[in-house]
């Protein structure tokens, strides 16, 4: 059982969290023309890094999204911050 730090509620068991995706996905502006492969990249491509990762998670009980930094090999948590408030 991993412990993740919700920036709003504090440390909680991993079962309370939902992986929402890698940080940094930017939705193409679909009111303009979007090339098929640009759209496919947005939809499906993953960095899937081995080591330091930055991800967006939701803490289900408070429903807040936040950024979790962790190590995908050791499972060490390296930090977390609200989605809208990057650390200074």
């Amino acid at each position: 059982m991993q412990i993740f730090p919700c920036p709003f509620c504090g440390e909680r068991n991993e079962t309370e969290f939902h992986f929402a995706g890698e940080l940094g996905k930017i939705r193409p502006d679909t009111t303009a023309d979007v090339e098929a492969d640009a759209w496919a990249r947005y939809l499906y491509t993953q960095r899937n890094e081995k080591g330091h990762v930055r991800e967006v998670w939701m803490h289900i009980p408070c429903a807040e999204l936040f950024v979790l930094e962790r190590d995908s090999v050791t499972m060490d948590v390296l930090g977390s911050h609200p989605l809208r408030k990057p650390p200074k």
Binding site: M1, E14, T15, F17, A36, R41, R47, N48, K50
Partner: protein
């Protein structure tokens, strides 16, 4: 290669095994090969074997960073089946089952493919309707399938929970009789031995650290044992596919997760088939040795950790106890995890990588053991001819652009 047979076992018994030769050599790495295959799991080894067998290409190296078969091939729950919904998947996986059916004799290595049948249970009226949809799809796809009612399932698998307290009562299910289990290590070893005998160099404890690209074309790899040049390169590195992609500069729609497996102490036979109960997300078979081999869903956190975590253990094993309450008193002997390469549609990626001269076989995720023969067969075809075999064409990376995903998840609960 000394041939294995009842006679050779008898003869070697008499002379204390003195005549058994090496299953595979420990060759020294050459500077150049016609084909270099990265990853000595089942798919990599099978690719090498079919290159030699179907395409007469023998100047081949398989580069494995650890011990051969030590990735997911040596960690899975060994279910082999072709009970797929989409015609593309059915064609792919049924070809694999067909190859498995002759594999022991083909490789001269007993991979113990045991066609004991697989039952996918249905637990409600709507699930029964989906089961009918699935069963019909399979039959139309030319795959054997039978729709069973609860009585028939109880007859096949009497230890299943038909009690009143069952959370998801069993209404029936789909049986594929030709499905079953195989001995995972033996599949890796059998392919390795046969490929080695045909001249393939299997290099263990050698890690590919970089992909050499000249003028946009992949011409070889750098490894912990030195540089190798290659006519073409095939990559079959499963959970590490994204790491390789990063080296070579192409992109993949893959996320690596841990999938766990569980095995109990050996007990006398209590289970006949492989049984999956979709609402529990859990499936089980009993190994020839007697252990209950239990599998379920992915751990929830993306990971390269190759070890499992407690929440999913509780989910899977409590589900198992619900499915087989009389077996809750059996003891868990070992559990472990593998790093699986999960794609958005749970279907594999076979085809060009985007870098010329580098071809992919990955994305098998939670269900590529059953596909080892066909995965090798198809990657060998690509490497030898530069073109898709008809079976692999739908599974290229371009499907993510065209939107032609082959999503089995919707029709099969979980896909192993």
């Amino acid at each position: 290669m000394s041939r294995y047979s009842a006679w050779s076992v008898f003869r070697e018994g008499l002379r204390k095994g003195k005549g058994w030769g090496q299953a595979w050599r420990t060759p020294t790495l050459k500077k150049a090969y016609d084909v270099v295959i990265i990853g000595g799991g089942g798919h990599g080894l099978a690719t090498a074997y079919y290159l030699t067998k179907n395409h007469r290409i023998k100047n081949v190296a398989v580069i494995e960073k650890g011990w051969l078969g030590g990735g997911n091939t040596g960690r899975n729950t060994t279910a082999i089946r072709s009970n797929y919904f989409h015609p593309e998947s059915a064609a792919l996986y049924d070809k694999s089952v067909q190859l498995y059916e002759g594999l022991s004799r083909d490789l001269n290595y007993n991979v113990m493919f045991s066609q004991r049948g697989m039952i996918v249970c249905a637990h409600s009226v709507p699930e029964m309707e989906m089961a009918a949809r699935q069963c019909n799809a399979m039959q139309i796809n030319g795959v054997d399938a039978e729709l069973l009612d609860a009585k028939q399932i109880q007859h096949l698998e009497p230890a299943l929970n038909f009690g009143a307290s069952m959370r998801y009562p069993i209404h029936g299910g789909v049986l594929q009789k030709r499905a079953g289990t195989g001995r995972h290590d033996a599949v890796a070893w059998g392919f390795a031995r046969a490929a080695d005998a045909a001249g393939v160099d299997i290099i263990q404890n050698c890690e590919v650290t970089d992909v050499i690209i000249q003028n946009g074309r992949c011409t070889g790899v750098n490894t912990s044992l030195g540089e190798i040049s290659a006519g073409v390169v095939g990559a079959a590195v499963a959970g590490h596919s994204s790491v390789l992609a990063d080296m070579a500069g192409y992109e993949l729609p893959i996320t690596s997760y841990v999938l766990q497996a569980f095995v109990s102490e050996p007990i006398k036979p209590v289970l006949n088939a492989v049984t999956l109960c979709p609402p529990f997300g859990t499936y089980v078979s009993q190994s020839d040795k007697g252990g209950l081999v239990i599998g379920g869903g992915l751990d929830r956190v993306p990971s390269y950790g190759q070890r499992g975590n407690m929440p999913m253990q509780q989910t899977v094993l409590s589900a198992f106890c619900e499915m087989y309450p009389s077996l809750a008193k059996v003891k868990l002997l070992r559990h472990w995890g593998g790093i699986v390469d999960v794609t958005p549609d749970s279907s594999p990626i076979i085809g060009p990588s985007g870098v010329e001269g580098l071809y992919l076989n990955c994305g098998w995720g939670t269900g590529g053991f059953k596909a080892i023969p066909v995965g090798g067969y198809l990657l060998a075809h690509l490497l030898a001819t530069g073109n898709h075999h008809d079976l692999s064409r739908p599974f290229g990376l371009n499907r993510f652009v065209s939107g032609r995903l082959i999503d089995e998840a919707a029709s099969s609960g979980i896909a192993h």
